[in-house]
Each structure stands twice: as structure tokens, then as C-alpha cells.
């Protein structure tokens, strides 16, 4: 930590970059000033506010150069796997094989926001019959059609079963357009019957042993496909090493979350934390670098916490946030309204848990996949949220609905009712479209009112 933490605009980052460079900042090959990404079409960056640390700069540069890494992997003869509707399982398998890079095509849902729609990905999806009544992930269809964002994967995988209906529809449309998909089934996790052999999953849920066995068999199919792609066997030893490497990323993230969300004064903005948490599921196409990026952020946060320096007033309302937003500006809006993030469930919180290292690796991955809160009853997810709310001492809950995403249609109500009745916190539900500019004033009212309610409740 060289300077006091601040949130700065892109314009201010220009001067800040010069200052840090002059002071001898070490940058990776993908480094450089943030503004260069605007020139590449990421217009939304002009409207965001960023943490002013070198660690945050590295995080942003890492995020915004993912496509470059994928193209480079292709140019170097590596194999590319697109792991769709996968919250942290297939990438662990893929990265255990040398020369294989996995990425997350679903992440294309952020492109229309980051580029302010300039790429026309959503109109392409519209023209393919996948209109705005579907989840914003439909932007992925446009990205495949234009080929302008990521190279065509050598293997496309997609989970199906207990996943969102609209995502399945989008992926089936993709399959029908000539992008063959290797489907694997994730069953709806159910509570074991009283006499049924059961397994405790990472994160605490229970599942019938038969369901774990089923998922393990599905993952074995994926393993075989990956072996064929890579032209070599994926041994248990290599997979165990891959799990340990993935756990190192998860460990860094867990520490970062614990430090940031538990700190008395918020040491890192919500926006940077959102981007950092996303690394848990796809590593931004480079697992080793993801860890370096996270460790640098962790050092920065640790120094800030030790120095009792942060970005927001100590009195900021401690808010737990459910579901990621399509429009990144909303995270900063919460802070402008007097809140700070203290705990999150961005749909993949199970990917923040450690994959068991004391089990055969495929069994461990099967348990991990089935631990996904999204594949079980909404009440399971609500219980985990309540537990985390208490752990991070959150004072309010925001459920951010994703327009068109069918897994959110009723889930929000279940979570809201659980949190209200079990933890007694104020809860609001908001809906954030990919570009929410015209909706900001009403979002602001909701968030400000939530913060006011928290502050009122603090009064003796």
C-alpha cells in the first residue's frame, strides 16, 4: 500500500498509472493503462470508478485481456475448452491436463454491458429467436456468431438437468447452430430419505450417495472427452495436483473475502471484489496467474486493514448481496448510497469452498459439483445465505434479480422470506438489466432506503 485507498475515475487512472510507473511498478505482460481497453471498445469503463491500487489495476487488466490469452493459447496450438453452465468443476479437470485452457463462454453476458452494446451481441441473439425474455447470457450466442471475442472452442461442455431452463434453451440453440456440445447431467439435489446412504457435501449440504455416484459417472465421461482432446491420460495423480492448485486459488479468495468483508473499514470496493470472486469459477483462462493476481490483492487488503485505512465510512451499512449484477455500476451505486458489501452469494459460492483433498479426486469433484446451491432446493441456498449473513455480520440483504433468468423467478422470494424470518434483516429485491442507466434513480431510492433502514435499526 503506497498511498491512501481511493476510488478513482478512468481519467484519474491515467495520471495514477503514470505515477505508479514512475515509482517502479512491476507489471505483467498484459499490463498497461486501463484506458487502452476503452480503445478496444470497452466503453463502460469510462463510467466506472476503480480502486487506485496497483493490485486492482492488475486485476482489471487480467479480466480485460482474457480474450487475448485464449487467442494466444490457440496460436500456440493449445486446446480450448468452453465450460458452459459450469460453476467450477470442468475447469479443474481441464487445467489438470497440460496444454488445455478452459474458459467460461457464459461470461459473455458482461460483454454488452462492458462494451455498452456496441458489439450488437444481443440483437444477434434476438435474430436467433432468443430475445430479452431470456437471461442476458444469450449474449454468448452473439459472441459465438461473430467470433470476435473468443476463439471457437475445441470442446464445448454444458451441464443440464437442474440448471436454468432458459440457459438450456440458449445452449440448445447454440448446439443447433453447429456448435456441438458435450452435455453432462447434474441432477436436482434432494434430501436423502431417512434410511438412504448419504454423503455430506462441501459447504454442509447432504445428498444421497446414489446422486454423488451419478455425477461422478457423468464427470468420468467428461474426463474421457478431455483425455481424447488432449491426447493423453488424465491420471488421478494429475487430477489431485489440479485440485490442490484450484484450492490454492480458492484459499486466496477465501482469505480475501474474510479480510474484506469482516474489516471494520471497507478495504476494497465492491466492484473489485465482484471481479475477484469470479476468478473462483474460471480463473480468467490462466489459473496460475489468477492466483498471483489474488495474492497481490490480498497483500494490499491486508496492509490496508492493518493500517486501518479504507474507502468508505466506518458507519457504512453492511450489506449481503445475492446474485451478480449485469451492470457493474450498480456495485458502486450501493457504496454511493452509504452501503458496503459484507458477504455475497454470486450463484457460485460453493466454488469458494475447498475441494476435498482426502478423497479420490473424481469423488471429490462430484461432491463439489453437487454442492452447488443452485442445483438444490431454494431453501438450501437460503440457509447457506443466512449462515453467511451471520458470519459476516451483515445488516441487510439485497437480492439482485437477473432479468429473464428463470432460476431467479421464485427463488428471490424464498430467500427473502428465510432471511426475514430467521435472521430478521431488511431485504430488498432489485432487478438489474445489462445497462441500467435509465433505472438508476429508482435503484438509488431502494438502496438509499435500505441504508436508512439499517441506520434506523442501529439506534438504541
Amino acid at each position: 500500500m503506497r498511498d491512501a485507498p481511493r476510488q478513482i475515475t478512468l481519467e484519474e487512472w491515467d495520471a495514477r498509472y503514470a505515477e505508479l510507473s514512475a515509482a517502479g511498478m512491476q507489471e505483467p505482460a498484459y499490463g498497461g493503462p486501463l484506458r487502452r481497453h476503452v480503445g478496444e471498445g470497452d466503453l463502460r469503463l469510462l463510467k466506472l470508478r476503480y480502486d487506485n491500487s496497483a493490485a486492482a489495476l492488475r486485476l482489471w487488466n487480467f479480466l480485460l485481456t482474457e480474450e487475448d490469452r485464449l487467442h494466444q493459447a490457440r496460436a500456440e496450438g493449445g486446446k480450448i475448452v468452453g465450460a458452459m453452465k459450469d460453476l467450477g468443476t470442468v475447469p479443474v479437470l481441464a487445467y489438470s491436463l497440460p496444454g488445455v485452457t478452459a474458459f467460461y463462454p457464459d461470461g459473455a453476458w458482461w460483454i454488452p454491458c462492458i462494451m455498452e452494446d456496441s458489439t450488437g451481441l444481443l440483437p444477434i441473439a434476438d435474430s436467433l429467436g432468443i430475445d430479452e425474455s431470456f437471461c442476458p447470457v444469450r449474449a454468448m450466442l452473439g459472441a459465438f456468431v461473430t467470433g470476435g471475442h473468443f476463439p471457437r472452442p475445441d470442446l464445448l461442455t454444458c451441464s443440464v438437468g437442474a440448471t436454468c431452463d432458459d440457459f438450456s434453451a440458449i445452449a440448445q440453440r447454440l448446439d443447433g447452430m453447429g456448435y456441438p456440445i458435450l452435455w453432462w447431467e447434474i441432477p436436482s439435489r434432494r434430501h436423502p430419505d431417512p434410511d438412504e446412504p448419504k454423503v455430506r457435501l462441501p459447504g454442509g449440504f447432504l445428498a444421497p450417495e446414489t446422486q454423488v455416484g451419478f455425477v461422478r459417472a457423468e464427470l468420468e465421461r467428461l474426463r474421457k472427452a478431455l483425455e481424447e482432446l488432449a491426447g493423453r491420460r488424465l491420471t488421478d495423480d494429475a487430477l489431485s495436483a489440479g485440485i490442490r492448485a484450484a484450492n490454492r486459488v480458492r484459499r486466496s479468495l477465501s482469505q480475501l473475502r474474510r479480510l474484506t468483508y469482516a474489516a471494520e473499514i471497507c478495504p476494497l470496493p465492491a466492484l473489485e471484489m465482484l471481479v475477484a470472486e469470479m476468478l473462483a469459477i474460471h480463473f480468467c483462462s490462466d489459473r496460475a496467474e489468477a492466483r498471483v493476481v489474488l495474492d497481490q490483492l490480498l497483500r494490499e487488503v491486508r496492509e490496508r486493514v492493518q493500517a486501518r485505512k479504507g474507502l468508505l465510512p466506518k458507519a457504512a451499512a453492511r450489506v449481503f448481496w445475492v446474485n451478480p449484477v449485469a451492470d457493474l455500476r450498480v456495485m458502486t451505486l450501493l457504496e454511493e448510497c452509504g452501503g458496503r458489501i459484507c458477504g455475497t452469494d454470486y450463484l457460485f459460492c460453493h466454488a469458494l469452498d475447498r475441494i476435498p483433498e482426502n478423497l479420490p479426486p473424481m469423488e471429490a469433484l462430484a461432491r463439489m459439483a453437487l454442492a452447488d446451491p443452485m442445483v438444490g432446493p431454494a431453501a438450501d441456498r437460503a440457509k447457506r445465505i443466512c449462515r453467511d449473513i451471520l458470519a459476516f455480520h451483515a445488516e441487510a440483504l439485497v437480492i439482485s434479480r437477473i432479468p429473464g433468468a428463470s432460476h431467479c423467478a421464485m427463488e428471490g422470494e424464498v430467500i427473502r422470506d428465510w432471511v426475514r424470518s430467521k435472521v430478521g434483516l431488511p431485504v430488498i429485491e432489485i432487478e438489474v438489466p445489462p445497462l441500467s442507466d435509465s433505472y438508476h434513480s429508482t435503484l438509488r431510492t431502494r438502496l438509499e432506503a435500505l441504508v436508512e433502514a439499517v441506520k434506523e435499526r442501529r439506534k438504541p
Binding site: E413, P426, E429, R446, A449, E452, E456, R457, K459
Partner: protein, 256 residues
Amino acid sequence: MIYAGIDAGSRMIKAVLFDAERRQIMASGIMDQGVQQDELAQRLFEKLLRDHRLERRAVSGIVATGYGRHSVSFADTAVTEITCHAAGVRHHLPGARTITDIGGQDSKLMRLDAKGGVQDFDMNDRCAAGTGCFLEVVARRLGLSLQELGELAGRSVKPAAISSMCVVFAETEIVGLLAAGAAAEDIAAGVQAAIARRIASMAGRTLDSPIIFTGGVALVPGMRAALQTALAHPVVVAPEPQMTGALGAAILASRQ
């Protein structure tokens, strides 16, 4: 000491001067909202001062609320209408546990704790079907004022079944009903019931009584009864329901 609350709503601007020692409203005023929100709010505030022969310096604090709260440059601070409605209702009716506020362009439902603070809230500002806008559309279609529409609804014996999902489609439904010879009073009552159902759907399963009705729509005859039927709970209209937000803002100004 005197404090002011300015509620810059979507349709009207409301202002209240509050005497903090006597805990009572000294004066209140209302005017149409417009593009120059700050100027209009200033004009209303100055008129109130003038009418009561007060100097600007006699007012110790000003809080702005409403959707245009951040445009009121002469306010000391801005507080959301949700918090202000709670404070305003608590002043008149300390035992209130639920507030439903239906304004021109949005509707809200607030749950209060035993101290009168906001425990939780829901808000509809994306669909006109649960707001006063629906009534305006229908009144215009029938060539009536809102007051006349409400009085007409009171004469209905068989309210028409009207969709509560979309004002645009509902207007088409109304044209169809009129063409089919439905009575205007039944249509008016049907629209009130549709708005009330929308609020009930936002309220969900659990509601604590008493429910206090605030906002301009509370003044429309028949709306309280429609809401009471839809919510299946007694509903009480707040005193001067249009002024609740401004009153709450003035009270909060006195606490700052």
C-alpha cells in the same frame, strides 16, 4: 423551532412547516411538479414562508424527499420517501405497522417495527398497473376527474373484471367493455380493484395491522375500500395522506 420538509414527488411537490416544540404542522402547501423541480420547490417553500410571515432564517433545517429529492438544492439533506412516510405516519398513528403508499407513478409497501422504524419495504416503480397513473388513464378515457371517477366507482354494484397486469392492455379491455355496454361505474370500480390487487400481490402473505394508506391516491373515493378488500385487513387513510412524506421529512429535519 421550525423545520421544513419538501416532498418532490413525480406529480406534485408538497411542503410542510413543522413546529418541533408543539409537535404540530404549522403550514402545508402543494403545487404541480414540473421540469424545473428545484425552482418550483423553492417557489412553494417561499410562498409558505410568505403566507405565514416567516423569514427563511426562522427555519432551522430542511429535508427533501421524493423522487426529485436530490434536485432540491436548498435542502440540508435528502432522505428517501420510504423513511419519510414512516416518520410521517408515526407522528399521527404511532401504532402503525404497515404503510401502503400509492402515488402517481409508483407504489410502496413498508413494514414498520414496534418503534415505528422501517423494518422492510417493497416497491413497484416499473409497472403503472399498481399506481395512480392507472386511475388517470381511465379517468381520461371516461372524461372524468379522479374525484368523479372515485365517486362513480362508489355507485357500482358489479365491478368489471379488469386485468391488473398492464395498464396498456387494461385500457384496451376498457374500450372493449364500453363497446359491450358495461356501465362506467362498474369499470371504475373494476380499475380500483385491479390496483388494489396489485398492491396485495406486492404485500405477500404476511401483513401486520393496522395498515395506513398514504399518498395522493388515498384521497380518491373508494380506493380505501378496494384496498381493504384486496388486503383482507382494515385500512386507515392517514390524515392529509398527500402530505405524509413532507411531514416525515420535516420531522426528520428536526431530529438532525
